[in-house]
Structures are given as C-alpha cells and as structure tokens.
C-alpha cells in the first residue's frame, strides 16, 4: 500500500559529464515552472539556486555520464541519500557522445586536445549512470522532451508509472501524418530503430531521424541496414550513424561493432 505524502517531496538535481541541456529543460518549462516548484521542494539544484540543503532526498534527478574516478564515487554517495533516482538524457542513460572515447585510446585523445595531458584525470570510458548504481527510471533523449519530463515528475509526485512509450519514431510519423522520408525521398532515416519521444521532428523537417532517443524496444537493425543498402548507404555510414549521441546504448553498440 502506498502512503500519501502530505509534505512536498524534496528534489535534488545533479550534473555529471554533459552539456547542461537536459537540466535546462526544467527551466525551459516556462508555463509550468512555478507550478513545478510549487509541487516539489527543490533542495539542491546549483544551476538554478545557490541555496542548498543536505540529503536525504525523496528524488534525485541525474544528468550526465560517468567519466572520472571522482564522479564514479560521487554517484554512489548520491544514490545512498536518494529514495528514488531517475536519470535524464542520452549522457546519463547511454554515456552520451563522449562515449565515443570508449573505442579510442583516451591518452591519445588527451594529447590531441591538451598541451599537458598529464593534468587531465579522465577514465578511459564514459558510461551511463545505471552501470554504477540502481536507477529507478531512465528518461531518454538528446535532449529530453519537456513533456515527458513533466510527466515523469508528475508521476513521481503522484506515485504512478510514467507514461513514456517505447515504440519507434515511425509510429510518431504515422500519428503526425508525415510522409516517410526513406520511402519517398531515399533519405536514410533511423526512425525504424529509434525510440519515440521527439514527436518525429526530423522527418517533419524533411530530414532523416538521427537517433537522439536511442534504440527502441527490440530494434531490428539488420533490417534497417538492408533498407539503407537499397538506397545506396554503405556500412561505414551506418556505423557512424549508430555512433553518435547514444553510441554506447547496448543495441547500437553491438550493431556498430558488428558492421564496423
């Protein structure tokens, strides 16, 4: 039986390696912002406030991926003081674009960018939060959808399941009435293997989906590969398409390694 929380739940927002865009999405809920901060008690959110309170917290919202030894320790501390923990965005749920270093020599990477690579302390990998601690819910997207975020926060406050579909972008295109860019214009599109959430944005702007929301449930990547071959797109292009913002999501990772 669930107990009714009469006080506002305390919420903390945390950042790891990321672009800040997903936590900015909270501030981008302009119409809903004052209602949100009325429904929850922001206890820690440095991007928005210099006031901070120690845990425990009812909910932690985590953005970003784990790329340093210090961060790998910090996430365990955050988990220990959070009743629930959700991750937001491609960095937190799949390692982000910085996970491209997982296929490279990180010392070599540091030499390319920095004159004194010895000053840089970085793990050789960028990994999702769920590789390190138990995560209660993962919200996909690069960036996340504002509407899905509001639903997830509302679901948490009311003790219900979030309403986040796991079907493909193709379904969203059909719902929107957008003509298939792959069928009509031979434009390579990742819609058939990508999870919905953006509203099928790219096809509506005459371009192919590039996979911001990561793999859909049981994606048939081999079938997509054949369809791309038919419109003249070769494996090196497919591998690069899989290796972007959700490159280290298991299904995309495995496929890109198979076809590389």
């Amino acid at each position: 039986m669930t107990t009714t929380v009469t006080r506002r739940p305390t919420v903390a927002v945390w950042k790891f390696a990321s672009c800040d865009g997903c936590q900015l999405t909270i501030l981008d809920c302009e119409d809903e912002f004052l209602s949100i901060v009325g429904a929850i008690d922001i206890a820690y959110f440095p991007e928005a406030t210099r006031a901070e309170r120690g845990g425990p917290y009812d909910l932690s919202i985590v953005e970003g991926s784990i790329t340093t030894v210090h961060d790998a320790e910090r996430i365990h501390d955050i988990r220990a003081k959070s009743k629930a923990l959700i991750t937001i965005g491609a960095c937190a749920t799949a390692g982000g674009i910085q996970a491209l270093k997982n296929w490279a020599d990180v010392d070599e990477f540091a030499k390319i960018v920095y004159a004194h690579p010895e000053y840089i302390r970085s793990l050789s990998t960028s990994t999702p939060i769920s590789d390190h601690v138990t995560v209660d819910f993962e919200l996909r997207g690069c960036p996340i959808s504002k509407h899905q975020l509001i639903d997830v926060i509302d679901a948490f406050v009311h003790g219900r399941k979030p309403n986040t579909p796991t079907h493909t972008v193709c379904v969203e295109c059909k719902l929107r009435g957008t003509t298939c860019v792959m069928v009509a214009h031979d434009t390579p599109c990742m819609g058939p293997i990508t999870q919905a959430g953006c509203g099928a944005l790219c096809p509506a702007f005459n371009r192919g989906c590039y996979g911001c929301f990561g793999p859909s449930e049981s994606p048939n990547i081999e079938a997509l590969r054949e369809a791309w071959h038919e419109i003249g797109v070769d494996d090196p292009h497919l591998v690069q398409a899989l290796r972007t913002f959700n490159a280290y999501a298991p299904e995309f990772k495995e496929a890109s390694e198979t076809y590389a």
Partner: protein
C-alpha cells in the same frame, strides 16, 4: 592568526557547468586566486576527427545545451569557408532570426534567473518569485518567446535539428513567422522595461581596463559573422585567428585559457559587443542605453546585466525586421561539395565570440578540429577581475565577500560546460 583566511566555493551556483573558486588572503593581500574549471573533459576536438564535415552542426551543438545555435553557426561558417561557398541573403537572414531567438532565451535566463537574484539578495528566482511575481512571470514569458522562435525555425530549442552546412532542411513559411509579431511587440516593450529595472540595481564601484574583442559588421550589430576587432587596434579576418591568438593549458583548469599573443588577456561578450558595435545598435536599443546612461567603453563588469537587457531589446527589434522582410529561401539550402582545405568560422554566442577551425580532406572527413568557446577566452579576465575586486573589501565577512565574488564571476554568464568543457569557490585567509 586572525588575518589569514581562506574562502572556498566548492561548486559555484547559477552558472552552466561545474566550476570552483579558491581565494587565499593574507590581510589585504591576495596570496592565491584560482577560478577552477573541473567539468570533466569530453574530448570533442579528438572524436570529431574522421567524422564527416556535414555532421558538425549536430555534433558540436552538444557541447552546450544553453547556446547550441552558436556552435551550429560557427561550425557551419567554418565548413562553408573551407568549401569556398557563401549562402545567399535569405538563408543568412533566417540564421540571424534563429540566433536572435537564442539571445532572447539565453539573456532572459541569465538576467532574471541567474543574475538578478544576486542584486536583489535571493538565492534563486524561485524565492524571488514570491516577492516579485509579475517580474518572474513576465521573464518566463519572454524566455518562452525566444524558445518559440528557435522551435519554429530550428525544430526545437535545445539542439535544433533544422540547420545544416549550406542552409536549412526546411524553410518556415512566412505565415509561421508572422505569428510571432504580436508577441515580439510585447517582448520589445518588456525588454525595454527590463533595461530600466536592472539599471536601477545597486552596482559596486568597480571598473576595469579591458581589451574588448568582438565580431564587427559595418551595417549591423554583428551576430552570425564579421571581422574580429578590439578597442586596442585588432582588426582581422577570422581566418587570421591563429596568427593573433593562442591557447594555454594551466594545471587548475580543464579549459584552455585563450590570450592575444601580443598582449595577453581580453574580454568577450555583451560588454565587448556594446562598445565595439555601439554605432550599429538598433534605434530602440540605443535609446534605452542612452536613457539609463550606458555609454560605449562602459567597464564596470557588474553592469553587464544592463547590456544584456539592451541586447534583448535589440534582438526583438531585429527579429521583427527580419520577419517583416522575410522571403523563404528557395531552395532552403545550397549544395556544398567538400575539398581539401582549412576553414575558420566565428559567431557571437550570447557569452561572446565563439571560434571554430577545421581541416578537412578531399572526401570531407575532418582531419583536425579546434573550438575556442567564449568562457575559455574570458577565464584569465575573470581571474583578474576577482584579483582587482578583493583589495579594499577584505573587511567584509567571509560570507558577504564570497557572495560578491560569486556575483563577479556570474557577470560573465560563464558557461563551463562549453569551456571544458565546474564552479567551486574557496577563499582562504592567512
């Protein structure tokens, strides 16, 4: 040892990204001062190698969720310059409209939600909203207007999907843009009132001797491109960047410090643009600046909040003018063929000039990438501001001094995610 003290902010608030500050004082003397950026490195310049030249707007947008359009524009400029193509007037106007949307959103976020709470004594806009409900409600509406422009032109406000090397995937219809006219007229009034509101704040008596650097255009307030100029005689084409600027790697920061080879530190951002492009201000923006006594050469960094408000007026005026004269580019993009070349591109991010350089091979694969964000250019100047600000104010309690120093850092609206790519403030007194 009562004269010796240390003030540390381990994680600076209301900035984008992870930064820290450490100050060690011996009486009135600053013994050590460091603005640390400990945001973990993400190695963009390394993994861009071997990616296709067409991918730069989508990939580099992910450096910063606050100013993705800046990254998209500078990277596209560099790739178009490498390919030897120039887009037409209609595409350039649409790029400006998208970018002014980002200025409205980013400046409003900073003025009201990140910086104003410092002047009014609140930890955040959330507490401020209880006492100033109308101000915060209007700020959210203005911010939403900026985001709405980005969504219509770019597809979405964070990491827009509609921009490409050569132009746009789809040109919005004129009727879609005309839908913004009434709200932009409202926004223009609101931004104008904001100039008076923030000009009425109390400002510390503090000025600096800055070398301002910004892009410049003879006939408009430069945003999407221009020549790089300074108030100390720099006047160069963007392709000459590496001849005049260099980047240094210091031990306490994961962001490289940029400097002018001949003279060292410099200042980029709204104050630099305002001084260097004062003649190019739009009429309402110039009138607003004149009304509150803001003159070119203004060098009190705390007044940057007024300049952001003036630039928000300008952005609304520019957006209205662009929409009025809008003709959808047809086709929405020009074709761009790769060639073996080096390309340089710059544009004015809300926080200052953002420079990109790429070397591309004949197949369009990237061989080398260099990205110099505004916050890494401002780092050395931010440290110098803090160093100059402390003497004479050491009788302040640690807590007061710490808050003022945090505010001095926020004058630059630092985007630390960009610059590394953490703010944490420590003051130590000896």
């Amino acid at each position: 040892m009562p004269d010796t003290r240390e003030i540390a902010v381990d994680y600076l608030a209301r900035v984008e990204g992870e930064g820290a500050m450490y100050l060690k004082l011996d009486g009135d003397q600053v013994k050590d001062l460091r603005f640390n950026i400990f945001e973990p490195p993400r190695f963009y310049e390394a993994f861009l190698r071997s990616r296709r030249f067409t991918e730069v707007p989508d990939i580099t947008a992910r450096i910063c969720g606050i100013c993705p359009v800046a990254y998209q524009t500078s990277s596209i400029n560099a790739m178009e310059q490498a390919a030897g193509v120039t887009v037409g007037h209609e595409i350039r106007q649409l790029r400006k409209l998208l970018y002014f949307g980002e200025w409205i959103e980013s400046h409003t976020l900073h003025v009201f939600m990140l910086h104003a709470p410092d002047f009014l004594g609140y930890p955040s806009a959330i507490e401020m909203a209880a006492d100033y409900p109308e101000v915060v409600t209007n700020a959210l509406r203005l911010k939403k207007l900026g985001n709405a422009i980005m969504t219509t032109v770019g597809g979405r406000e964070i990491h827009p999907i509609n921009v490409k090397v050569g132009g746009f995937y789809r040109a919005p219809r004129k009727s879609e843009l005309e839908g913004f006219v009434d709200e932009l007229e409202w926004g223009l009034e609101m931004a104008d009132q904001t100039v008076d509101l923030v000009a009425g704040f109390e400002f510390p008596d503090f000025t600096m001797d800055y070398e301002f650097v910004a892009l410049h255009q003879p006939d408009e307030y430069a945003i999407v491109d221009g020549r790089l100029v300074s108030n100390r005689g720099l006047d160069i084409d963007v392709t000459e960047w590496t001849d005049h600027f260099e980047e240094q790697h210091v031990e306490w920061s994961n962001a490289l410090h940029a400097r002018i080879k001949e003279r060292g530190r410099y200042h980029v951002g709204p104050m630099a643009r305002f001084t260097l492009s004062h003649d190019q201000l739009t009429p309402r923006a110039r009138a607003a600046a004149d009304r509150v006594g803001l003159r070119p050469g203004e060098s009190n960094p705390f007044k940057s909040i007024i300049v952001r408000a003036v630039e928000t007026v300008l952005a609304c005026e520019e957006a209205l003018e662009i929409i009025d004269g809008y003709l959808p580019p047809d086709p929405p993009s020009i074709s761009v063929e790769p060639r073996s070349a080096e390309g340089h591109g710059a544009s004015e991010a809300p926080r200052g000039v953002l420079y990109h350089r790429y070397r591309v091979d004949a197949d369009g694969l990237i061989e080398e990438a260099q990205i110099v964000p505004p916050t890494s250019q401002n780092q050395a100047q931010i440290e110098e501001d803090l160093r100059q600000y402390v003497p004479g104010r050491t009788d302040l309690a640690d807590e007061v001094l710490q808050w003022q120093l945090e505010q001095a850092i926020r004058n630059y609206d630092p985007c630390i995610s960009c610059a590394t790519h953490f703010l944490d403030l420590t003051v130590e007194r000896m």
